[in-house]
């Protein structure tokens, strides 16, 4: 009997700033849609893993996210937990589901991301311990350090960050459920309000309420299901926990370590990737990952993104659903969902022809955490 894990169902809610619906309702809708997409019965779900975004310890107090989630879904799973890895959490819970299934701990595992970022905004504006005394607030300040460093080392231009923002909107224009579907041009990017220079408002991801879910099961169980199973070709994590004390922290992401390992498991290299779903909380993170994953050489991500190379129809389409910059802040789980849709050939107008290998990344906290999945048909 094969214990190989595959992805067999995906689902999500609408993403946007609306607070009409509670997080519990959003989570439930995402869970139901993933289970229905897969065509399995809720009673088959025997694993529950969650990425609670910024909610953990904020909305839930001392109640772990998986506990509230399990109670509302009526689950008594054989395996459960929540990952607190910031933006790497969603990719990491899918990886953890794969590990749990292949180890025989459970068979059909629901992975859920949910957040209510509009109601826990303060969590994204936090100061980092005593560094708050200097006004070092928010994830944007941290990423501004990385962006400035990249500009200093390699001459990266604001217009090259702008290419990432423009590509995201161009992709989102072809994505019916995206939060920001209106395309933008360079002039609009350059006149966007500065937030923490060198980053502008259009360098920053959206603020969204929403939930997304992915169902992982065994290859054997997936065989009789209605959807084509998506294969897990490789997975790895790497982390940089010392922040500024780590010599290259603001120049290179841990992706440079886990990317080659994940691709290596698949027997693939960066040139084999048909579509990249790169965590894009800020435009600079896309540039860093293009280098760290080996899509281009160190320092060359700025020129690499020029001429629409990561835009629709480009040589390496990045985030064809628009990503965190335009589709909605989906924690990273929406990146997994889009990878699955592309590999199944279900992406409609934005479908990348013959997409057979997708790389999905998650990046989190103070640029500390990173997780990679390589998925295939």
């Amino acid at each position: 009997m094969s214990r190989r894990a595959v992805i067999t169902g995906v689902g999500h809610t609408a993403f946007g700033r609306s607070t009409d619906r509670s997080v519990s309702e959003l989570e439930t809708e995402a869970a139901l849609s993933a289970v229905e997409d897969a065509g399995v019965s809720p009673s088959e779900v025997d694993g529950l893993l969650s990425d609670p975004g910024a909610m953990q310890g904020v909305l839930d107090g001392i109640t772990p996210h998986y506990l509230r989630l399990g109670a509302q879904l009526g689950l008594d799973p054989d395996y459960t937990g929540s990952e607190i890895l910031g933006g790497a959490g969603s990719v990491a819970v899918v990886e953890r589901a794969v590990l749990a299934i292949e180890a025989g701990l459970c068979t059909t595992c629901l992975c859920i991301y949910a957040d209510s970022t509009t109601s826990v905004k303060s969590a994204y504006r936090y100061g980092r311990g005593d560094d708050a005394v200097y006004g070092f607030f928010g994830a944007v300040g941290l990423h501004a350090l990385a962006a400035r460093r990249h500009m200093h080392l390699y001459g990266t231009k604001p217009e090259q960050l702008g290419e990432v923002a423009i590509a995201a909107r161009a992709h989102a224009a072809r994505t019916p459920h995206a939060q920001k579907r209106r395309p933008i041009e360079m002039q609009e990017y350059l006149s966007s309000d500065p937030i923490v220079e060198p980053l502008r408002k259009l360098d920053c991801c959206l603020v969204s309420n929403g939930a997304a879910a992915v169902l992982v099961t065994t290859e054997e169980r997936a065989r009789d299901l209605r959807r084509p199973a998506v294969q897990i070709l490789g997975h790895a994590q790497a982390h940089s926990l010392c922040t500024q004390a780590a010599p290259e922290h603001f120049e290179r992401l841990p992706a440079a370590r886990c990317g080659p390992r994940a691709l290596g498991q698949a027997g693939l290299g960066p040139r084999d990737v048909d579509v990249a779903l790169l965590y894009d909380c800020f435009t600079i993170v896309v540039l860093l990952q293009l280098e760290d994953y080996g899509f281009c050489k160190r320092g060359e991500a700025g020129p690499f993104v020029e001429g629409g190379r990561i835009a629709p129809g480009g040589e390496l389409p990045v985030n064809p659903s628009g990503g965190l910059l335009a589709e909605g802040y989906g924690g990273g789980m929406l990146h997994v969902v889009e990878a699955v849709r592309q590999l199944r050939g279900e992406a409609g107008e934005r479908q990348i022809p013959e997409a057979s290998v997708a790389l999905v990344s998650g990046h989190g906290l103070g640029m500390n955490t990173h997780a990679t999945l390589v998925l295939g048909r």
């Binding site: 005394v133 200097y134 006004g135 501004a144 350090l145 500065p194 937030i195 500024q244 004390a245 603001f250």
Partner: protein, 140 residues
Amino acid sequence: MSDDTTPPLPNPDVLTQPFWEACRERRLQVSACEECNHLFLPPGPCCPRCWSTRQTPRVVSGEGRVYSFALYRRTYHPAIPEPYVVALIELDEGPRLISNVVGCAPEEVRVDMRVRVRFEDVDGFTLPRFEPLTMTGGAS
């Protein structure tokens, strides 16, 4: 309402108290590992390189360079109005710390700019901020 007027302040613990006490006396100090001589910040229970728990404080020159910086154009805390510069300072002795660059216009800050510590008193604490080294001739 006190949140509107009181800036965020350090929250010293048993490990960081000596750092803040030294700042009050206008000395910038780092931790020196007695086993491997690694100099490190922030203060911690062991050397992050060799895990030795034997360490002594080491006063450093207070000079270094701007490794990178972020120019805040949004006010996140009413007591810290924009514009201001948060910088990652790399001390000449090696350790890095987050601080502010003051004593020049925010637009004049550059990566690799030479800087020197300037202690500033804020609500009972003394913060180690940094100013351009070339512009400090007449200062205090």
